[in-house]
Symmetry: C2
Subunit: 515 residues, 2 copies
């Protein structure tokens, strides 16, 4: 126990230290971190830059898939937030020792899981600048540059993708940056829902039908749940290997006819260019025609593959987009723009605005009231929005479209190289033809395998990922457990792809040998 | 016209330059920016730090409210993205010359509009680190540290706010970081909607009733629109000056009784602690009791004022939160954590998860399938999510709770100082009692003013904001146009508040003199 005087002294000392820290006028060296101060920000942020650069320098030394056990971090951290400030170096030490072991390194050259979510130097710089300005651009007036740069870069991208004029801001449509493809499909689903309900009456909500293939991203199902649509009328139409898992226009037509005959109301079709499981390509022109005849909102989800369509040789995959009511691609997947940055174009912006606008008194201002400007708050779910166009603009400026095309082609070449390696090993097979930078493959089961090799491939995946040297993920197609290798991290080179294949081969050898 | 050979030479030169840029093996100085490279990132990011630090150094030199005209930026930028890369310095020059004039400076010490959305050195560093790691933490496995740090800091904050145990992750509930309060209210509304529909059947959707005061943020109305609820049953109950614009429990009880009598189904109540217009305080204990009796989901929106409740002397404003099913505060408003970072706690996480979970094959993994971990993707609208807990953690570590309390108290003191200045000038009146850091006031109209001084106050606002020296906004209460001054930028000092008041006085003198 301390004597009373010692406690008083400690209390006094603490008070003195915090007065030092908090006093805005205090200039003395060694005082704590101010909430904001240009020179302190400069000093500390330079340290953070070095920390991050050092992270990239050593990124290959970490297990790419974190190998920690559930609950690991709770044991390492205290139960309460600190009462008193700590220096940045303590926090960075904790990041190094406690956080990084629990990070799965999406930017590692050995990350081949899911789809990529690639960052880049330009994307990172754009994110920094956006965090530095720290504006909230819900209405034009809250930072005109944020709205106007977004309109500009969305038009630039529409041009780079050769989208029809109707998607440009100069017409009835326009582009907007959403957080994710999930939000993109939700906002257009709600717009389409309200559009049809205005015609047929609210009481028909339970009769509205949504169409998509069974390969469609789960974001659609989630959007239906959120939008209050009847889950039984979310039709995920069956696909199979005969179409390489693309939605068949005939299957769609039949489903629509049958629904109409039952008194349901078809209103929404989601097609995908590059599905998550296997980059399947729904046939946009035929699907678009059916949507048009039936007066159905036609949404095209090209979240992953859209990026490739800035290359002339891949653009044909979105032929038919002229029939779409909305088109989405994620710049944060394969376009070097830090997550989150999901690009949505619509043909009829008024449909979005009718569903999503609010006009509270406290946000009214001359420019908005006179309809002189875009207020992107009315094109999205949240009110607030970050200055996300900055990072996309910086990516476009610092790499140029030619640089971005080379980036895409480089990854596709690497995937083709991997595909070639797999196809040379008779123990493996390529499951569906590769189109972009994803390869779907599996190790062939021994004869009379009870589950057609599903356990074998599952074990191979576990075995490979537990090395920490590479991270790949899986899917299931027609009941078969399939491995997926997606190239997309900016640091990935041929040697990493080769290394991944080596591990796959070695682990397959071990597993097949033990059977 | 160039002769053919010159064109060939230019084409060859261009090709050479881009080969130089794109060749990953190219080590020579002066080659272009790679997509990722530790040393290039270090070099360029240090430049960006200096750019941002210089911005803060000169932030008072900009007009705080951007003075540009609609369409200004389109005229300054080209029609297409560049084909070829440009150096960072060109982009930074454009930021300085073209973007910054169109920025409304939310971090300026003279920003008193809306509610603050304050950044800080710690928040900025956290945002940098999050962008540097650039992970996508939808499932635990995609970066265990992202999920576990989020759980930890949400528990830390629950403790700092003295929330009941039921909101901690150790019970049936827990906390999650949403993007915005709009998303927070949407996800709990959907969870509550589905919970009641499971009991009464989907066909009752059109009968569900939502209650809130007419001072509630427009995000609630938007959430109802998105969630497919009957807009006619979104009851925004009238408030007035007799309760300082708080929702009256009697008015609520009557509305519920009347709805039940008409065969409607009450299911959701949103109360606000610190409304956007005037920081009105809905009486949580009384409202909570009514919600409980009627089996209504009780959501508490303390987006702005929640931050103040880490100070013991303000904590009583959320007394009654123990009756709430969900509680929300925005760390990105007044808690020094960069936008976006909205903290949502729920009592029953299973309700959220039932409404928002999806389980596609391609995301399945052992930890998730065995329910060993939290997958926050099932607590939110999007699938993807950034590592947002990092910035909140850094704010807590680098300032400590005592530092954060001082930050809050400092702003409240500054607002009290402003209130005092206003109340000393007989031409003005304080419209509602000040509780936190927002002051609602107006200049008194001359006798026989036709519109009770609404035009006068509107003109005063315009006149003040057009100086560029200060930015304040307005609201309307009981038909009266009111000016709002919200203190919240980290750089704001007494001299800025005094300066704002000086401008208000001067402009009022000019306007009143010309009447």
């Amino acid at each position: 126990m301390f004597p009373y005087d010692a406690i008083s002294f400690i209390a006094l000392f603490n008070e003195y230290m915090y007065m030092k820290m908090l006093n805005r006028e205090e200039k003395e060296e060694g005082s704590g971190l101010r909430t904001m101060d240009a020179e302190q920000l400069r000093e500390e942020a330079h340290k953070m830059v070095d920390f991050i650069a050092d992270y990239y320098k050593s990124i290959e030394n970490f297990p790419v898939l974190s190998q920690v056990q559930p609950g690991y971090l709770g044991k390492l951290l205290p139960d309460s937030a600190p009462d008193h400030p700590e220096p940045l170096q303590h926090v960075l030490n904790d990041v190094q020792e406690k956080i990084l072991p629990g990070v799965t390194h999406w930017q590692s050259p050995n990350f081949f899981a899911y789809f990529p979510s690639n960052s880049s130097i330009a994307g990172f710089l754009g994110e920094m600048l956006s965090a530095g300005l720290s504006i909230v651009g819900f209405s034009w007036i809250t930072s005109p540059a944020a709205t106007e740069l977004e309109t500009t870069v969305m038009d630039w991208l529409a041009k780079a993708l050769n989208l029809p004029d109707i998607f440009y801001s100069t017409g009835q449509g326009g582009g907007v940056i959403q957080g994710t493809a999930s939000e993109a499909v939700l906002v257009v689903l709600v717009a389409a829902r309200d559009k049809i309900l205005r015609r047929v009456g609210r009481s028909a909500l339970n009769k509205l039908v949504i169409y998509a293939s069974d390969q469609t991203h789960s974001a659609l199902q989630k959007a239906c749940q959120i939008g209050g649509l009847n889950p039984e009328l979310c039709r995920l139409l069956k696909t199979d290997s005969s179409t390489n898992y693309a939605l068949s226009p005939d299957v769609l037509s039949e489903a629509i006819s049958s629904d109409i005959a039952s008194g349901h109301i078809p209103f929404f079709l989601c097609a995908t260019v590059g599905t998550t499981s296997s980059t399947a390509l729904d046939p946009l022109p035929a699907l678009g025609k059916i949507a048009k005849i039936n007066n159905i909102w036609f949404h095209v989800d090209a979240a992953y593959a859209g990026s490739a369509c800035i290359c002339p040789e891949y653009r044909h995959h979105i032929d038919g987009v002229e029939e779409a009511d909305s088109f989405n691609m994620n710049a944060h997947k394969w376009f070097l723009t830090n997550f989150d940055c999901s690009l949505l174009w619509v043909k009829d912006r008024s449909a979005l605005i009718q569903s999503l606008s609010t006009n509270p008194e406290f946000l009214k201002n001359k420019a908005s009231q006179e309809n002189m400007v875009i207020d992107y708050k009315d094109w999205q779910i949240p009110l607030g929005r970050r200055f996300r166009s900055l990072k996309l603009w910086m990516v476009l400026r610092l790499y140029g479209l030619e640089g971005l095309r080379s980036h895409i082609r480089n990854h596709i070449d690497l995937a083709a190289y991997f595909e070639e390696l797999v196809s040379q090993d008779a123990r493996f097979k390529i499951v569906v033809p590769r189109t972009f930078s994803l390869v779907c493959f599996r190790v062939l089961p021994p004869p009379n395998s009870e589950d057609h090799g599903n356990k074998l491939n599952h074990d191979l995946l576990d075995s490979v990922n537990s090395t920490g040297s590479v991270f790949i993920t899986h899917t299931v197609l027609s009941g078969e457990y399939i491995l997926r290798l997606a190239v997309g991290a900016p640091l990935t080179e041929k040697r990493h792809v080769k290394g991944a294949w080596q591990i796959l081969q070695d682990k397959a050898t071990a597993l097949l040998g033990s059977l």
